[in-house]
């Protein structure tokens, strides 16, 4: 049974197709990179898979069942810029939101939820910041809070949208360590990723996306110069000059 199977997924915003006939299968217990240029539809792919935006066509199966958001097997880390960090709340409160899906209507997070949330903050090295207002955190710390919230969701599959953007090197290392830990626990983690240099180091499996799936498979066979050219088109020449393809040697 595969954690995620997507078949013939097409998504359009106001008639303009953003994803066309996307199909792929995600293997269990792996770290998977979703790679593609800006505007390729990476965020849209995650949102459509999670049922947050309507699909024009296609089907998403999670562990062989048609996916519904309530099933709580999937955790989600949105792009950091997608929320207002001036919102009046603190780090612990944000992590507690990861528990909301488990709590049910009309109830509040209890003592156990709070302990679990603190535990998750500790896992990302943020326990001292539990009561800190979220606007008073650095970009890297905010990203860690988002990650802790995903851990609090206690899911089997995680979708993370650009968790490495705008974080410092220490945070990037901490995050990748955590992702590997999740993998050791048998979880499946899909990560939208931008930095082509680190793809080979971080991911077991990649999905190269640009409106269509250009290529998909184990990183070694799939993350090739030819496939990258197809995915990035003209922009890759520019990227090559910045010698991102050191990993190719």
């Amino acid at each position: 049974m595969n954690p995620v199977e997507v078949q013939n997924l097409t998504v359009a915003y106001q008639k303009k197709p953003v994803l066309k006939n996307v199909s792929f299968t995600v293997p269990e217990g792996k770290l998977i990179g979703i790679i593609g240029p800006n505007g390729a539809g990476k965020s849209t792919l995650i949102k459509a898979v999670l049922g947050m935006i309507p699909k024009a066509t296609g089907e998403v199966r999670v562990y062989d069942k048609l996916y519904r958001a309530k099933e709580r097997v999937v955790g989600y880390v949105p792009q950091r810029g997608s929320v207002d960090w001036d919102f009046p709340t603190n780090a612990l409160d944000v992590v507690l939101m990861g528990r909301y899906g488990h709590i049910g209507w009309f109830k509040r997070p209890g003592k156990k939820d709070k302990e679990l949330a603190l535990n998750c903050l500790e896992k990302v090295g943020m326990q001292e910041y539990a009561t800190r207002q979220i606007s008073q955190l650095s970009g890297g710390q905010q990203q860690r809070v988002f990650l802790a919230r995903a851990l609090a969701q206690d899911a089997k599959i995680y979708f993370m949208d650009e968790p490495f953007v705008g974080v410092d090197a220490a945070t990037e290392r901490a995050i990748i360590e955590l992702l590997n830990e999740l993998k050791q626990q048998g979880k499946t983690v899909l990560v939208v990723h931008h930095d082509l240099q680190t793809v080979k180091d971080y991911f077991d499996h990649v999905i190269l996306l640009n409106i269509n799936v250009i290529a998909e498979g184990p990183t070694e066979d799939t993350f090739t110069l030819k496939n990258l050219h197809q995915t990035y088109g003209g922009t890759l020449a520019f990227l090559e000059k910045g010698d991102i393809l050191v990993g190719q040697k």
Binding site: R72, Y76, F87, Y100, R108
Partner: protein
């Protein structure tokens, strides 16, 4: 109870109802939509009157809630079909409001429901507009309506606190865990509509927007916690009503206008002088950073 006491009570109730509802409007950046709804509910009130042939406040609340939610639904439909949000709001707002005005002038001309009154309101007359509901003694209509709406608002906020919070902070995450984001949005717009109508008699549609937005915006500058923001906005709404009343009787000006003005003045004060988020405090801490 004395005339003065009723005005203070009704003004304070309107302050609380508007304040707590307004907090969510501020956090979701929905001030424009609230402005639209505060006008389109006129259509709801006229329809309620035409259908029920009475000025019963309860029907008014239901009519207003229905049209308020309809306003939000229309805006959502236009917006998701590719029209910009502010343009969608503008079109729906003017259309529904115009229909309300036309119906009013055609069929309800002779009743007390005149446009001037709905737009401007005047709390001065509230103590004499008495009604009898069930076993209760005769009480000012505005008092009964605002009390009803306050209870509804509090129930909604208490029952759906986590949903209101997560859909305000991170609607994407909320959708991902199966919270019905749009439904919560419409419930909130229903709250805004009923709050507006219940406050109409006291302040009217134009000033009610000030009462909805200002206390929440001030409270936002004063705290880092949502629950405290809600409590503060209620307190500030009450403070503005009380100060506004005494200011009006001292200067001999419109009480409603004075209450709304005090709301604006309170916001202006905190905008500059709030401890951490005020303009001066931010300037000051930036300067300190530069010096060190």
């Amino acid at each position: 109870m004395s005339y003065e006491a009723w005005i203070l009570i009704v003004g304070s109730l309107a302050g609380i109802c508007c304040g707590i509802t307004g907090c969510f409007l501020i956090l979701r950046r929905l001030a424009m939509l609230a402005d639209a709804i505060s006008h389109t509910v006129l259509l709801g009130m006229v329809l309620a009157f035409l259908i029920s042939q009475s000025l019963n406040g309860f029907y008014m609340l239901i009519g207003a809630a229905a049209i308020g939610v309809l306003t939000a639904v229309f805006v959502q439909l236009l917006h998701s079909s590719g029209i910009q949000e502010d343009a969608s709001i503008g079109v729906v707002f003017t259309f529904l409001f115009a229909v309300g005005v036309i119906l009013l002038s055609l069929y309800a001309d002779h009743v007390h429901l005149d446009v001037d009154h709905a737009l401007m309101g005047e709390i001065t007359f509230v103590p004499w507009d008495l009604v009898k509901w069930g076993f209760l003694p005769e009480l000012p209509k505005a008092f009964l309506m605002l009390t009803t709406v306050l209870i509804i608002n509090l129930l909604i906020i208490i029952l759906f606190y986590k949903e209101l919070k997560i859909t305000s902070f991170d609607p994407q995450m909320a959708a991902a865990i199966g919270v019905p984001v749009l439904l919560i949005h419409y419930i909130l717009m229903g709250m805004v509509s009923m709050t507006t109508v219940a406050s109409f008699d006291s302040v009217g549609a134009i000033l009610v927007v000030a009462m909805l937005i200002a206390p929440g915006a001030s409270a936002y500058l004063l705290t880092d916690k949502l629950n405290i923001m809600l409590i503060m906005s209620a307190l500030l709404g009450v403070a503005a009503a009380i100060i506004g009343y005494y200011l009006a009787s001292w200067l001999d000006v419109s009480i409603s206008g004075s209450m709304a003005t005090v709301n604006g003045v309170i916001f202006a004060i905190f905008f500059f002088f709030a401890p951490h988020k005020g303009v001066l405090s931010k300037r000051w801490s930036q300067r300190k950073l530069k010096l060190t």
